[in-house]
């Protein structure tokens, strides 16, 4: 039996004539953890989608256990023993956790109670704290990810592909995940995982493959890599000092108080939360998943509603406001850049230009009556250029862009509204190193221009690199505030968990 369980030779995939991957060779050994690293648009997702049967190769071959295979659907790939945990989760939001776990494995007669018991036992065996009867749509991002992972494990795949598996996980949950992956490896399962957190690749992987611009750059044992070598191979330039390396030596002074949240309640996530946001500053909001950060700011932006009885107060520019839908919040100058771009950020089958134009229309009452293709193109071109969105043209569908460029479209859609208060929720989740730098520069620029900027992030280095002041949220409320000058990772994490 060959040591190679999965191999791709000269793999090429073209989208409308543009190569997403080109002549890529890839080998996965039996029982190894193989990290796939590269900038957004490097072709990682396409390569793994080929393995998982989501897309088929334009040219080249794929072999599973030495036998040529070309899975055309995820089901065919699953029959070959390949399962994929997607970056943007692929669960059915209206179904329960248990139903999602057993989706595709239904029998003629399903006993719901039996499914729930089996799911409960299975989730407990993985040490995942997810209720099997909960509706998936109501779960947070981390828990959805857990269900995705559990589903792949349940299918007893020989190869499991994880696309950005840890992006939404808290440090504790990451530890569980790493243990789980190592356990799978012990059982002989081969793992391919894509991660932008390079440290994770270095810690977890046996081998690392780096792609750049759809081409294979290097594959080597993880012990032969360090962070600088990976970054250099990924982007062809040295970014190590420009990203999270430097510590802030000065902070921007607070301007006028733009937003005050007072005793906000949105059971069960937000509990009597109070905070302020000032103009000309970046306010970083750190907390573990479930700390109520996203929900607080979604209430501010009118995406969610606060409690009906005694739900607290949101004060914008000194005036109490209450938005039941996002439109009036947008008109009042609040922009919320979502953490879940695939679901809430854009219309994936619409063009880049149209998506950005929609942001502008949202600010105009009855905006749909002013649709203009020419105007959409003009606005789209301006913002594609401004934010350096790498697209073949304005007509390119957003779904065809890489994660980082999709995120830039979502940001452009908000910035086109010329907001005073911009809330970035996990702005660089699932975004490559190159795009992270660009997005960070943009966020800094907005604060320099006097905008009130909020950055919600679960990634501490990001919070520390960006923020002028850091609010730490725990169990639905802000529990601590640090100036960027006094903050340390230890202090912030201590406040977040104690």
């Amino acid at each position: 039996m060959s040591d190679i369980i999965l191999a791709l030779r000269n793999a090429t995939k073209l989208y409308a004539g543009v190569a997403a991957i080109e002549n890529v060779d890839f080998e996965l050994r039996r029982g190894e953890i193989h990290a796939l690293v590269g900038e957004n648009g490097a072709g990682k997702s396409t390569l793994t989608k080929v393995m998982a049967g989501v897309v088929t190769l334009t040219s080249g071959t794929m072999q599973v256990d030495g036998v040529e295979a070309a899975p055309r659907t995820p089901l065919e790939a699953r029959h070959l023993g390949i399962a994929m945990v997607f970056q943007e989760n692929s669960l059915v939001p209206t179904m329960t956790v248990a139903q999602n776990l057993f989706l595709g494995q239904e029998r003629f007669y399903n006993r719901l109670r039996g499914i729930y018991i089996a799911a409960q036992q299975f989730l407990q065996s993985l040490n995942f704290d997810v209720t099997p009867t909960a509706t998936v749509g109501l779960l947070g991002a981390a828990k959805k990810q857990m269900v995705e992972i559990a589903r792949a494990v349940l299918h007893e795949a020989k190869v499991i592909i994880f696309d950005e598996p840890t992006a939404t996980l808290t440090p504790e949950e990451k530890k569980y995940f790493f243990d789980l992956v190592r356990d799978l490896k012990r059982r002989g399962v081969s793992i391919v995982f894509i991660s932008h957190a390079l440290e994770e690749a270095l810690i977890l992987a046996d081998r690392i493959t780096i792609l750049r611009d759809g081409k294979h750059v290097v594959t080597d044992d993880a012990v032969n890599f360090d962070r600088a070598r990976i970054v250099q191979a990924m982007v062809g330039r040295d970014l190590s000092n420009t990203l999270y390396g430097t510590r802030k030596s000065t902070v921007r002074p607070a301007g006028a108080r733009v937003l005050t949240v007072q005793n906000l309640k949105m059971a069960p996530m937000v509990r009597n939360n109070s905070l302020s946001v000032f103009a000309g500053q970046i306010t970083g909001v750190f907390g573990l998943v479930g700390a109520g950060r996203t929900e607080t700011f979604k209430v501010v932006a009118g995406v969610l509603k606060r409690d009906f009885f005694h739900g607290g107060e949101v004060i914008l520019h000194g005036k109490p406001v209450r938005y039941r839908v996002p439109a009036p919040a947008v008109r009042a100058g609040i922009a919320y850049v979502t953490e879940d771009r695939k679901v809430e950020g854009f219309f994936e089958t619409m063009s880049v230009a149209r998506n950005i134009y929609l942001g502008l229309l949202a600010k105009v009452p009855g905006g749909r009556f002013f649709l203009s293709r020419r105007e959409a193109d003009k606005v789209g071109t301006t913002w594609v250029k401004k934010l350096n969105v790498r697209a073949t043209g304005n007509d390119m569908k957003v779904v065809e862009l890489s994660g980082g460029n999709q995120q830039k479209v979502v940001i452009a859609k908000s910035l086109v509204q010329d907001p005073d208060l911009i809330i970035f929720d996990e702005p660089t989740r699932g975004v490559d190193v190159g795009a992270i730098v660009e997005i960070h520069e943009l966020i800094q620029r907005l604060a320099d221009e006097g905008k009130a900027v909020v950055v919600i992030s679960s990634y501490l280095p990001e919070i520390m690199a960006l923020s002028d002041r850091i609010l730490v949220s725990r169990q639905g409320k802000v529990v601590e505030e640090f100036s960027a000058l006094e903050a340390t990772e230890e202090k912030i994490m201590y406040a977040a968990v104690h």
Binding site: A254, G255, A256, R257, T260, Q262, N263, S274, L275, S276, F278, F308, F309, H310, G311, G312, E313, I315, G318, P320, R322, R469, L471, V478, E481, S483, L485, E486
Partner: protein, 365 residues
């Protein structure tokens, strides 16, 4: 009919005027323990106000005016009534308000007889004095219905009878600049305008010469009190208590308040205090104040100590705190002399000193 229905719905749902929320201490008001750790340089029986001529510090303690030389206090003068406000004038003089009803102006702090006396029926609860333009004095009168010492009654009755007055020292005439204020408590000239603390509305307003008002600092988490100029521009604003949701709730419950005023000893009212923790009968403020015998600094405060440094536009730069677990509460006055900030914590009767360099060092740490 509709306003009544709306008011009912608001009360039921906790919205509109019936929203019971308080802002948090964050940003420039981020809590610290600097005021609590400040050096105590004097203990007094009934301290009320501070004043400085730039060289010496004067303290109004009961009916006496004291001067601080180093750590030694000497009596400068004694009145027959309680002093409710004190200020030094640019020409070297001094003005004092007695019982809130009369203002006496002296050519020097130790002059034997007053240069002028302003005694007008319009004066009732003068609680702060500040030099005004063209030889006038700016005075804040907290209430026309309650004497100064009964400020808590004015709060519980939701008093809105505060005034800002211009006192002409030469003629003894009194001219109201602004009225209908919710306990005006502290004033300081700021260019053409006068900055005024409006305690029950938790804000700082700028009152122009024509009487027009503009909110400078709104929705404070505290009850602001006196103001004084900072040497490097801007102001020092003191706050004698912090807001809590429980007090805000009581302030909306008229029937409850009426009964509380008539039936309960004011010492144990659900109301802000200048000091707390004196008796187990004191009402809780909506949370456990003690855990395992330790007072939680972040618990909703019955009393609090705070001095806020404002820039010339009234924007807070930083603040020094004495939190719930501290004692330096009820700060009613603060002045800056020779690179040090002196604050009067009326609760424990302490005069506190904080070198500005030390404050900045602490805030940087």
């Amino acid at each position: 009919m509709m306003p009544a229905l709306k008011a009912f719905a608001d009360r039921l749902l906790g919205r509109g005027d019936a929203t019971i929320t308080v802002p948090s201490f964050d940003g420039a008001l981020k809590p610290n323990q600097i005021l609590e750790k400040a050096e105590t340089i004097g203990q007094f029986d009934a301290p009320e106000d501070l004043a400085t001529d730039g060289k010496a510090l004067y303290i109004a303690d009961g009916s006496t005016v004291l001067r601080l030389d180093g750590t030694v206090t000497t009596e400068v003068r004694r009145f027959e009534r309680t002093i409710t406000a004190l200020c030094c004038l640019p020409d070297g003089g001094m003005a004092a308000a007695l019982d809130g009803r009369e203002v006496r102006v002296f050519a020097t702090p130790s002059a034997s007889s007053p240069r002028a006396t302003v005694s007008d029926p319009a004066l009732n609860a003068i609680n702060a004095l500040s030099p005004g333009p063209q030889g006038t004095l700016i005075a804040t009168d907290g209430s026309t219905t309650r004497p100064y010492r009964q400020w808590v009654y004015d709060l519980m009755e939701r008093g809105r009878t505060g005034k800002v007055l211009s006192l002409d020292i030469a003629s003894g005439s009194v001219r109201p600049i602004a009225s209908g204020l919710s306990f005006a408590f502290g004033a300081c000239a700021a260019g053409e305008d006068v900055l005024v603390s409006e305690s029950w509305r938790h804000r700082l307003i700028a009152v122009a010469a024509d009487g027009s008002q503009r909110a400078v600092l709104d929705n404070l988490p505290v009850y602001p009190s006196r103001l004084s100029p900072a040497a490097s521009g801007g102001f020092w604003l003191t706050a004698f208590a912090a807001r809590t949701q429980l007090v805000e709730f009581v302030l909306r419950e008229n029937a409850y308040r009426r009964r509380m005023i008539t039936e309960i000893d004011p010492e144990y009212w659900i109301a802000p205090k200048l000091k707390s923790g004196q008796s187990f009968l004191e009402p809780m403020q909506g949370a456990h104040i003690k855990t395992m015998g330790v007072v939680k600094p972040w618990a909703p405060p019955r009393s609090y100590g705070l001095v806020i440094r404002l820039d010339a536009n009234g924007v807070p730069l930083y603040a020094v705190h004495s939190r719930v677990d501290g004692v330096n509460h009820g700060v009613v006055a603060a002045v800056e002399i020779d690179g040090s900030l002196f604050a009067l914590a009326k609760g424990p009767g302490r005069l506190l000193r904080m070198p500005l360099s030390l404050i900045e060092q602490e805030l940087r740490a």
